[in-house]
Amino acid sequence: MSEPAASSSPPARAGGESGTPSVVARAAGGFALRDLFRLRAPLPRSVSAALAVGASVLVLAVWEGVARLGLTSPLFFPAPSAILAAMGRMFADQHLAWNAWVSILRVWSAFLLAAVMAIPIGIMMSAYRAIGAALEPIIDFIRYLPVPALVPLSIIWFGVGEETKIFLLWLGTFFQLVLLVSDDMRRVPQEYIEIAYTVGAKPGQVLKDVAFRAMLPGLVDNLRITLGWCWTYLIIAEIVAADSGLGFVIWAARRYMKTPEVMAGVFLIGIIGLLTDQLLRAVHRRAFRYL
């Protein structure tokens, strides 16, 4: 009844060709430089982190150097140090943190609203073909409407308050997300559904205990990606009609040609995005250890 013990160990995920010189070298604790250029070769965590930080630092250093040497005009292309200094000033006396917080709240409230609506609708579209057949053309149509083109309409409907911003962000994400969720659901292997049925699950239980559980990793990934899009639409909304938020900060700085401030605002969005993304990736890794 027992298979050879070796078979119980998980199959080697990567670098399976044991015995090749590079594997031997790594086993001895070394990491050969040529490993970096072997097709799809595994990369140790430490090397990966070093490369990630190193590349960013290198880009910033080159940029800084170019600016310091006077090769670019500070008015158009300020050095990273100048941007950092501007960011410091803005945090200190221009309420940058508060404006960032306002933007984050807008992004998350619109995103959560879109998700709460898109997840059940998307699931239903794949669970019941009739719902999918009815909704898909409508959603596809709206999905292709450019959000900026709907700004005037949004202002007519909702004025220039918070509702307009939330509406525009929701518009940009909900319709995309519905289709992504629907796809996640459609990709759940039919076998899983049928296993559940043959142990006596009711349709509702099949959806909740099996189909939803099976699609969850894909769903979380799609939510993470969609959250990124929210920031794009946020800036559009805040540039058009706002007196707060990072989009407003950027736009206001532009009026006085304060390029370092403009770039500081843009940078901050990038940093917030990067941190959020890393956070959600960590959650994904933790929640779906079985993958």
């Binding site: 049928e194 043959t198 699950a201 559980r213």
Partner: protein, 257 residues
């Protein structure tokens, strides 16, 4: 010998595709191990799925203990070739999933059965492991244990060992046959592997190309007896039976519908 499962004049079409055109009739006895053998896409899987309630006959009926089969339930368990266990559940949780919707068992009974079947298929020590950490053969055993734990007395198996290497397949075939004798299960097993059919079956039904119809029925029990061993696979009787079935399969695959 009482019929456990009967097909009476069953036909099946999916839209314009006739899967089973000639009315299909078959009686399967309780505790009988029946193998559906035939070329890929011939309709044998559809016939098996209809027993499970996953497809319904276009005409005719299928009865289990004399009563028409309705939708799927735990009395007829299914083991698929791939995606046969849930990756988000541990090995033990996968086995317990077979009883998840049974209200007639207490929690202690469920735990007891879970551990019993984990042990039976040799996976007890892997209880808390996730399926992606065990071999393909073990994953198929998870599915078999889940189906047994569910209490199914009919096991429907759709090429469950198709993706395994030859050694592991032989080994699992031996285990399956032993469990089937011991626990007295009725098994309908779909395969296109002639040796697998000869080794496992009490009776082999050889199918034509689609639309499926019975080309031949082979009473393996009369030829090889009830107990199957690995040594037997090297014997002359097994070899002769295998060759005979191989010729039948070749003939059915080559025959124009």
């Amino acid at each position: 010998m009482t019929a456990h499962l009967t097909f009476t004049n069953v036909t099946k079409r999916f839209g314009a595709v006739e899967v089973v055109a000639t009315p299909f009739n078959l009686a399967i006895a309780r505790n009988e191990f029946v193998v559906f053998l035939g070329p890929s896409g011939c309709g044998k899987t559809t016939l098996m799925r209809m027993i499970g309630g996953l497809d319904t006959p276009s005409t005719g009926d299928i009865r289990l203990d004399g009563a028409p089969v309705g939708g799927p339930d735990w009395r007829r368990g299914m083991v698929f070739q791939s995606y046969s266990s849930f990756p988000w559940l541990t090995v033990a949780e996968n086995v317990a999933f077979g009883m998840r919707y049974r209200t007639d068992l207490s929690e202690e009974e469920k735990l007891g059965r879970r551990d019993h079947y984990l042990d039976l298929v040799g996976l007890y020590e892997f209880s808390d492991t996730y399926p992606n950490r065990v071999s393909g053969g073990m994953r198929q055993r998870i599915a078999i244990a889940r189906t047994l734990a569910a209490g199914s007395d009919v096991l429907l198996m759709d090429e469950p060992f198709g993706a395994l290497d030859a050694q592991r397949r032989e080994q699992l075939q031996g285990e399956l046959r032993r469990i089937q004798r011991r626990d007295a299960k009725t098994v309908v097993f779909v395969t296109h592997d002639v040796e697998e059919a000869a080794f496992l079956a009490d009776r082999v039904i050889v199918f034509s190309k689609r639309p499926a119809r019975i080309m031949a029925e082979i009473d393996v029990r009369a030829r090889l007896g009830e107990d199957r061993t690995l040594e037997m696979r090297d014997g002359a009787d097994f070899f002769a039976l295998r060759n005979e079935m191989l010729r039948l399969v070749r003939a059915s695959a080559g025959e124009e519908p």
